[in-house]
Amino acid sequence: MSSAPAVEISGLVKRYGPATAVDGLTLSAARGAVTAILGPNGAGKTTTIEICEGYRHPDQGTVRVLGMRPGTSELRPRVGVMLQSGGIPPSVPAADFLTLLSRFHAHPVDPAALLELVGLSGSARTPYKRLSGGQQQRLSLAAAVIGRPELVFLDEPTAGMDPQARHATWELITGLRGAGVSVILTTHFMDEAERLADHVAIIDNGRMVAEGTPAELTGSAGQLRFRAEPGLDIEGLLAALPPGSMAKESPAGHYVIEVVGGVVDPTLLATVTAWCAERGVLANSLRIESRTLEDVFLELTGRELRG
């Protein structure tokens, strides 16, 4: 087996008419790891993943999957694909579709065992169109892994799933990683990326805005948060804190303090509570926490709603 990365994207550009969906993206996904591509709607996630799957061709740049050009007949048996939606004939029972795909592979997973694993044994004879949204997603996920691929592309694998199904899907993805399968997934669920991914790439408007492990992205940036009456003297508080600290009230009555170096230490905590005590302010729900991936994401991609 060659040691090429699972996916290597370099300077990728894809345009649809006047719109640029992917704008010079460079990304490397390691073998045997889970790589999450995170971004708001329209960021270029699906376009990127469909170029890797061989469905679309780059306008510029190169894409290599397991060291090869995407979509070739040599590559297809080695790669599993879960489309964002559809792809399964509506009137075909779940078990029949999975069995059909298993016959395209040399060493498939047993379809009945896989159906049980994704919680669909009870719906084996149910036509695809009569499965719930979450069940359809699980069948599509099962279809992506039935051929024992080295690499799977999962486009929003847990969209439309209830919490139980999401957890079962996370377990399956963790199982794939444990078996040495490389996983590339897109998602806009932060907790999903934080929990599953070894490497997270945040993209927006077709460009990479940040990448790293979830820990690297959220940083050690400790925050101290508390709630109190609105309109405290933020400037006065800042004056009491070490230089370079940041304090803000957002929304009203919710206070956030961050320090340079990102480590909230006992002295800082004492300074803040002392400052409050001098003013007769009770700091409610006081807590120290690291930034979440969601904070990072919203900081990088903005808060305005996307279409």
Partner: protein, 268 residues
């Protein structure tokens, strides 16, 4: 050694990578079986490919609704016509509608990510059409013989009948895929049914082309349905060994339609 998937329980499913395509013949057989099952499970498709042709054959052969003239018996006229109709129903209308919706539901796209190649998929579709046509042929011949059909054909018919049907199938399949691969599934559904209905009337299936004015008649004989029904009728009812004109017409349609389909077909 390749770790095998255990069937005993979900805890024993192994995802250890063991990629590999199955042999092409196995993939094509699996896809053909799946497509044939889908067609035979679909009520509207069955109506189109089996029930309507057999009903027309039995009713119109027994009841003097249409006066054929031309010196052949009603049943001698009907069997070749219904054969042509059956080929058109399966290779054109049924295949266009099924493929149009497969494209619309992303099934063709999804299959494109499997080890089954596009060539393999087209082969499976072709074998499916031929399988259904064999089933139709058996039933049409059986019903025809039961209601008194006695073909008057030369021995060459064992070659020329399959040849005409094969060329007709190729022409109709090319037209079906050109349509299904280029326009919306709903438009394909409407157009494929409309064309079927128009050619049922003007294809020499149940209504003799000799009843049309000669200009119209020659035009209709240049359409695939007219060429196929006229050719089959020449062989089966008039004892013609090889209907050259109709064969050439179908050959031209087949080559042209497949060339157009190859050009315009979009997989998603």
């Amino acid at each position: 050694m390749i770790p095998e998937a255990a069937g005993a329980g979900p805890a024993l499913v192994s995802f250890a990578p063991a990629p590999g395509a199955a042999p092409l013949s196995r993939m094509i057989a699996a896809q053909t079986a799946a497509e044939t099952r889908n067609l035979l499970r679909n009520g509207e498709q069955l109506l189109l490919t089996l029930i309507i042709p057999l009903l027309l054959l039995s009713m119109l052969s027994l009841e003097p609704i249409v006066n054929f003239g031309g010196g052949i018996s009603r049943i001698d006229f009907m069997v070749p016509g219904v054969m042509a109709l059956a080929v058109m129903s399966t290779a054109f209308t049924s295949q266009a509608i099924a493929t149009g919706f497969e494209r619309r539901y992303g099934v063709l796209k999804r299959l494109g990510a499997t080890p089954l190649s596009r060539g393999g998929l087209i082969t499976a579709k072709t074998v499916t059409v031929i399988t259904v046509e064999l089933l139709q042929a058996v039933l049409i011949l059986a019903v025809g013989l039961i209601i008194g059909w006695r073909p008057d054909a030369s021995v060459a018919a064992v070659i020329t009948v399959p040849l005409l049907i094969l060329l007709g199938t190729a022409a109709f399949s090319g037209l079906a895929l050109a349509m299904a691969g280029s326009i919306r599934a709903e438009a394909t559904l409407a157009a494929a049914n409309l064309v079927w209905f128009v050619l049922l009337g003007t294809g020499g299936v149940v209504f003799p082309l000799t009843k049309f004015p000669s200009g119209a008649r020659h035009f209709f004989e240049l359409l695939p349905t007219g060429a196929l029904s006229t050719g089959l009728r020449s062989v089966l009812a008039h004892g013609v060994a090889f209907p050259v004109g109709n064969t050439v017409t179908l050959l031209v349609w087949a080559v042209a339609a497949i060339a157009v389909a190859a050009r315009v077909f979009r997989w998603e």
